[in-house]
């Protein structure tokens, strides 16, 4: 039976509650703020948005890949690119397909970081897809790894409280070190 891959109500709820939690908790939604604030001035932010969206728009890919829908939360929009099919499949078999859609994990839960990542990834996605020069299998880049890590923490903050650094500035373990198949079933 083919799974309904559209954005289910549960996943919407989970996704949003994740984001809300981050804000309401007042715990600065993990590190996103502390990171993005100093690194991106308003001007840079605008620039990133413009470059990201228009560079993407201008390409054939953006049309082919139903670029406009990239901004939606529907996982189906990701598989507009066949390059994403495997990840879609493995997400469907993962423990989280009931509770989180792609964007819940691959976009920062912080309202600003979220748009930067979207623009940034939108641009590089289109570029890579158009040129076809990306690595297969696709490998997540360090910056996007930080995003996924931050979203785990954002949703599971209370549960993993003792894993957070004892002192600011110390590091913490990668959740996927142990939970590698949470978002994408593997092996």
């Amino acid at each position: 039976m083919p799974k309904d891959t559209s954005h289910t109500p549960e996943s919407e709820a989970a996704g949003h509650s994740g984001e809300d939690n981050a804000g309401v908790n007042g715990v600065d939604s993990g590190e996103e703020v502390s990171l993005s604030k100093p690194r991106f001035s308003k001007g840079m932010l605008a620039l990133a948005l413009v470059v990201g969206m228009f560079a993407g728009l201008g390409t054939f890919t953006f049309g082919y890949g139903k670029g406009a829908s990239y901004m939606s939360n529907n996982p189906q929009t990701c598989v507009n690119c066949h390059a994403m099919q495997g990840h879609m499949d493995s997400w469907q078999q993962s423990s989280h397909h009931h509770v989180a859609v792609c964007n819940d994990c691959h976009l920062p839960h912080h309202p600003i970081g979220k748009w930067i990542t979207k623009a940034d990834n939108g641009f590089f996605h289109s570029l890579a897809f158009t040129l076809g020069n990306y690595k297969d299998p696709i490998q997540i880049k360090p910056r996007n790894k930080r995003v996924t890590q931050s979203t785990c923490v954002s949703c599971h903050q209370d549960f993993v409280h003792s894993m957070l650094p004892a002192e600011t500035g110390q590091d913490m373990q990668q959740c996927v070190h142990c939970h590698s198949s949470v978002g994408h079933a593997r092996r």
């Binding site: 715990v27 600065d28 993990g30 590190e31 502390s34 990171l35 930080r146 890590q149 931050s150 923490v153 209370d158 549960f159 993993v160 409280h161 003792s162 894993m163 957070l164 650094p165 004892a166 002192e167 600011t168 500035g169 110390q170 590091d171 913490m172 373990q173 070190h177 142990c178 939970h179 590698s180 198949s181 092996r187």
Partner: protein, 490 residues
Amino acid sequence: ERKQEARKPFVRLVEVNEVSTDPKPWGVNFPLQYESYLRTADTERTTYGGNHSMSPSKLKEFPWLKRLYAGYAFSIEYREARGHAYMLGDQEVTKRVTEVQQAGACLHCHAAIAPTYRRVGLEKMGKDASEETLGESFDQEAVIAGFKALSQMKYEEVHAELTKTPDGVVKAAEGDPHLGDAHPVSCVDCHDPETMSIRVTRPGFILGIAKLAESDDPVPHLPSIQKWRDSKSKTPYDPNVDATRQEMRSFVCGQCHVEYYCANKMTLTFPWSNGLKVEDLEKEWEETTFPDTEDGKSGGEFYDYVHKETGTPVFKAQHPEFELWSQGIHARAGVSCSDCHMPYERQGATKVSSHWVRSPMLNINKACQTCHHVSEDELKARVDTIQGRTQALMARAASAMTDMLDAIVLAQKAGASEEDLKPIRELQRKAMWRLDYISSENSKGFHADQEAARILGESIDYSRQAQAAAYRLGGSPKPEEGDVAVSQAD
């Protein structure tokens, strides 16, 4: 790497500080960890590991160990390891301690000793060593000074020093020499009492890992050491400053689960200046000479004991878990000791590290299945396969070793000269070191399976070479005594 914001400071119901070697007050603050910590006194065994009410004797299980250790304390009593709760008691009663004079360094890994090191260090340095000062800060300099002062003293003397250090609980009257109890490994050994972050406290490790950092041994599993090397820093590598949290999750264990020298001729030493492989450690011992004696005589070449049957000075290998793990695929993949031996456990609305440090085979679900999505039976079977191969090769190496001893003894009876025997003794030492290395390591090869087999293969090679060479010197049993039989161990 991204830095996370810190967790909220925990609610401290009871104050603990740097002298709090008694875990009870910590347990008030962290009842979940404390409860599981107490379970290290529990008993359950796997095929090759786990706890036991009275730990089985390894000498009985592997009779050849008696010949391997002939002339050394280990041939009197040597048992399987068991839970952390027993570490001090088991040491106090082992015949290796009751029948042989041991050095104070033994306590480095069997008691919560850092505050005692600090106290003695401060005293040596002529500084205040009151309970208050002792509780204030870790003071690494003082700890190392105390460590050096106590290492070569007698076991009993140092044991007595332990109880002269406050433990945070015992309330002793002024002038009462008993200011605290002696405790096995305790919270303060692995945690900063202020922040609760994990840390290392053992001078042996701190000095040893700094030596390793100075070497050029590749350490793909310890990225912070590579980073330190690349930075060309002038300050020695300090695990408490430089290591990642994931590395620290192994370093806390590497304080004790390592090869060492610990008798009374030198300060306790971790032989890591050439690297962490079995040859690297061997090389350090080969290059070591004991310090000159007080009357100015040369201390001579390093050795642990003179093998009684053959008169050959040899090295003793002790539980090199940290070193063998370092050669394995799990270490390379960033999997720490704690990931398997202290896995996270769901406790209500949060997860905590199981402080019931024990065989992961008693806890496969949490210890392995988070990463390996296959059945418990399958994981057990994989471990059994690895350990079975190791055991079979070990039995083979053991019978090569005993054949070698027989041949050397006969060659000596036949009047072989010391000069002729010299290369044979070298082979013997290499063979015994390697066999001991894997038989003393407690995972039966699991921590690095191919490496364990390689080491045993080398041991076999050296034993059999020595045997053949001894045959040339008249070490061959007379044809009547025993025929050429295929000696096949399994």
